[in-house]
Symmetry: D2
């Protein structure tokens, strides 16, 4: 599949695939801002793509070493396309997490006045996040849905042979960094309704080597319930609570085969090499084999996992030693001595 415009094309065609990083382009997107935080990607070729599907295809087919994709937005929730892709494309692993504060500006061709704006191009999610501001300041505006904010914004500059704009939109909602790349004029800043909005991005790879634990890690899973019986979700969640494992995310997504059937997207606080997480995974696997391990990776906020000391690694070791002692017993020598 090709995109309507060529803006988001590959920027590194000759590069070694195992070095390349795919991201939702073009330059200027929030995804690019996330990629700029990925240490190992600096100085490596970056590949701008049109959507999450293409980014993950690049990874699956070996065109890229990894891809950065939006996974959760503080306003809009889990990114469905990402969650569904991770649930259905085998072999993918999340190896890193990055947070990007979300902010929007309203941009237009130079010379446009705010009061002249009638039609605003914006991705539906961005539009929803700015709608309060837009309804108040431009009550008569119309919305033109766009697949990409940056693309829609740059199209404002496209002209036909007569030097007339080809876009039917008068303005676009875009990230502030857009003006670093394009000669657009900012008509209004900070038009997002919630100033604390942040998007969480995942670095996704096919490399199944798990990043080393840092003490401040997350483990991501997708699990289906074994039955629709009431209480089944409670039982699933008890696999975590009985091991003192906290969840930082629980979202449901339809499996797609029938109404009411859901899978659950779960983030646990901790790393698979920590005993309580590993044990919870074992418990979860027994409870429902329909579980996908998506990865353990450092948390973006570097906040150490908080848990009851009775679920510390050494307690697991102690418990195993105790059990091993119970099992290893030989007939006690006191009684054997009694035989003599």
């Amino acid at each position: 599949m090709h995109s309507v415009t060529s803006t988001a094309s590959t920027t590194s065609t000759a590069s070694n695939a195992s070095d390349t990083y795919s991201y939702l382009g073009p330059a200027g997107t929030f995804t690019e801002l996330a990629l700029k935080q990925v240490e190992e990607a600096q100085g490596k070729p970056w590949r701008a793509v049109n959507n999450v599907g293409e980014a993950l295809d690049d990874v699956v087919e070996g065109r890229s070493k990894a891809a950065v994709i939006a996974i959760e937005n503080s306003i809009d929730g889990g990114v469905s396309a990402t969650q569904d892709a991770l649930a259905t494309i085998p072999g993918l692993r999340i190896v890193g997490e990055y947070l990007v504060p979300v902010g929007f500006v309203l941009v237009a061709r130079p010379g446009t006045r705010l009061e002249d704006v009638k039609t605003i191009a914006a991705h539906p999610v961005a539009y929803a996040q700015c709608r309060g501001w837009l309804d108040k300041n431009l009550p008569d505006h119309s919305h033109l849905p766009a697949g990409s904010n940056v693309q829609a914004a740059t199209q404002l500059l496209d002209e036909n042979e007569d030097g007339e704009p080809v876009s039917v939109a008068d303005a676009a909602v875009a990230p502030p960094t857009i003006v670093d790349h394009h000669a657009l004029e900012v008509l209004a800043e900070n038009i997002i309704d919630n100033p604390n909005a942040v998007t969480r991005f995942a670095l996704v790879s096919r490399d199944t080597a798990i990043p080393k634990p840092t003490g401040a890690d997350k483990t991501s899973l997708i699990a289906e319930l074994p039955t629709d019986a009431p209480g089944s979700l409670v039982e699933l969640l008890e696999q975590f609570s009985t091991r003192g494992v906290n969840m930082s995310l629980l979202e449901s997504r339809p499996i797609g085969d029938a109404l009411g059937r859901h899978r659950f997207i779960i983030d646990l606080e901790g790393h698979i090499t920590e005993e309580r997480i590993a044990d919870a995974l074992l418990g979860l696997y027994r409870f429902t084999p329909r579980v996908i391990f998506l990865g353990s990776y450092p948390r973006a906020d570097r906040q150490p996992a908080d848990f009851d000391p009775r679920y510390a690694d050494e307690v697991f070791v102690e418990a195993r030693d105790w059990l091993r002692g119970l099992l290893a017993s030989e007939p006690s020598d006191v009684l054997e001595t009694g035989d003599a």
Copy 2:
């Protein structure tokens, strides 16, 4: 706010507001198919609007008696815009539920050949549901995101003064009923990847009178957790399980103020006038006062709620009688007789 096109305009401007039903138009949408199932709406004015927000605004501001909005899709899950609107707009009530099987055709201007199709207009959700077929049959196609499938399809017929099409798209993904209203040609039928797809619609009103119980009802809620403590969700769910109440839906949506803070969209099997549901609501309210009752209404599938007989209404009455007996006791007459 106005829509880009005038297609989805009000069809009943002179009508009595309390008679009017709003729906996502234009004619031919799945929402219209749902509205056709609403008995009390037949023969009343219908008002086609551009999005869920407008539909609910009509209800809130008294322009319409009720609105039909998509609430859940078997492929794509809960409709975020609907869930968030119901969570934040006070005074709305769900009074009915309707199911519409989802199917798509690929339509174009008469005379178009399938092999000539390059650019396909489609709402992102519809596009996602047909992407398997499109990638296989039209591997080189491009996607033009649209705000409405029906609108995008009808725009294929729009011409400029020279009689040339104005749309940049060659074809559109649309519901099969589109051809009842517009002179479009069907290039391919049944292009949806999952043939069992179904969308659930809600009839939303400001009328807080609760529809009578039918024995096959649902109760919809939105609840926030009182704390972020692990186990808090388990405790919330126990408010249902300890009363033998089944959930048919549990979805999480971000509250929007910070990453990781969620509210839960919950459907219970039963009617608020049934004792076990009323008691679960009381328990839920005490556990977390941040609970919104969205309504009790007949299930679209007319399937009676299944529950353990020990949570039947008469057992609640018996239990109250027992408690009342315990509390009402006067000093026993045996002992009083002893006094004589």
Copy 3:
């Protein structure tokens, strides 16, 4: 049934039954010490009986207004005879609770030397509580089981026609108060192994009027599980935890019809007139109708019940008001206005 000795006979044969208090006699028992704490019993006739069964028979048959019986011992646990009697004799209510510190002395006929003691009479429970001291200080002693410590102690003084002791025991384990009533000699004090031992007594009546709440109350119950299914006990306990109700006692007793079938003796922190307790009772009754309410009464330790403010009485009232509001709704007047 009659007792072997006449020591524990009725002390108030002519008294009005509704004034009389039965207790495990004779004078000098711990039960008598408990009865001395019962305010309303002071100045009323007391009736010493031989065992718990007789005490409760007095109450059931109207010979006494109430009886004081041992219900739990900090060393030995729930008193089985009491628990089983409360589970099987209908119409009894606990109306008060009293604590008596337990301590024992070793007594003998005047002139006896500790080193001459061979055979020690003691009730098996008392013997068990002193066995550490006895084994250490009188390693060669024998135990003569007695039905009552005080009775066994006083029998030490009984003589035959020749002035010889009739008891085969040389000494007895008895409460320190024994010497207030009988000319026995204390051979050793503080012979109990655990100096913190305390026995809890219940004042049991047929009067079903419930003592007024004091803010520091207990509610006692006996419940059977509805099924033997695993998890059934967890479900029963959730009836309390989901209402923020704490248990101060949970003991199991065999029902008696088959191995492994148990009923549970439960004390809750709070009074039946407190909303969370009443609601837990309703929940419990629905979960298992095999529940006996034994009473709500002031705690002996006067310690106020500690509970999460979200389960305070006013929250229950608030929740009911909320539910009533939901149910009482009339078609909203906004829409009715729209009709005009």
Copy 4:
């Protein structure tokens, strides 16, 4: 400590300690009937002792290889002395379980008539089990508490120099086998109130080698709660329910240091070498290190443990293989190939 009578003395003083089996004597007790079921004890020296404490002392001090002790009675519940001894004496293991139906006869010196019986000697537990019959048939009888039914019965035959009976009792409650050993006359048979009464006996040893699993085993534990917090018991029980482990016994016993503090006596269905039991033990140890493993041993009723197939041993192995696979991953070769 010595017993009052010499009846229950050692029957095998010269025997090799490691061969000897201790039991509550004398010959004719139900405990002896249980010992007769212990295959490995046949043909070995048996040592009759006076109480549970002596029996366990024999084991702890190496005088006996094992002891048979009553552990639970279908009428009277867990045997407190046994439960407390197992909780406090370290190094003991239950290695077998035996059931003995309980029945009683009323015996007397030859020539005694039922209507002449006034005073009945009986262990309090036996007396409680026969009280319905005794109250009905001998309404005027008195109870003389005895430490041992068999002992009390044989004492009926003891005479003084003048050939007069020394016992103050006229009759005794005893097991039917008493007449195999002593010249007593049976005044009445089947005097037990509940004809299905059965007592469960444990074979207790210091040998920590665990009997081989048979597919129909029990695992016995004693556990304390880590805190008094409400819900703590629910959490403990979840360690079993989340592993599909059923309990066949849950009893509480006071720890003895303060009112309201309990330990729990627990029997699980399964053997420590079964994965779900071992895993539950690990979970329990982490939840509360105050746990005592009392043993895994064949069930007396030979009934195989019933459990959900998802907790079968092979699922545990599968889960570990899955986890090991996740942890063992090397950078995937696809990407390595990409490097070439």
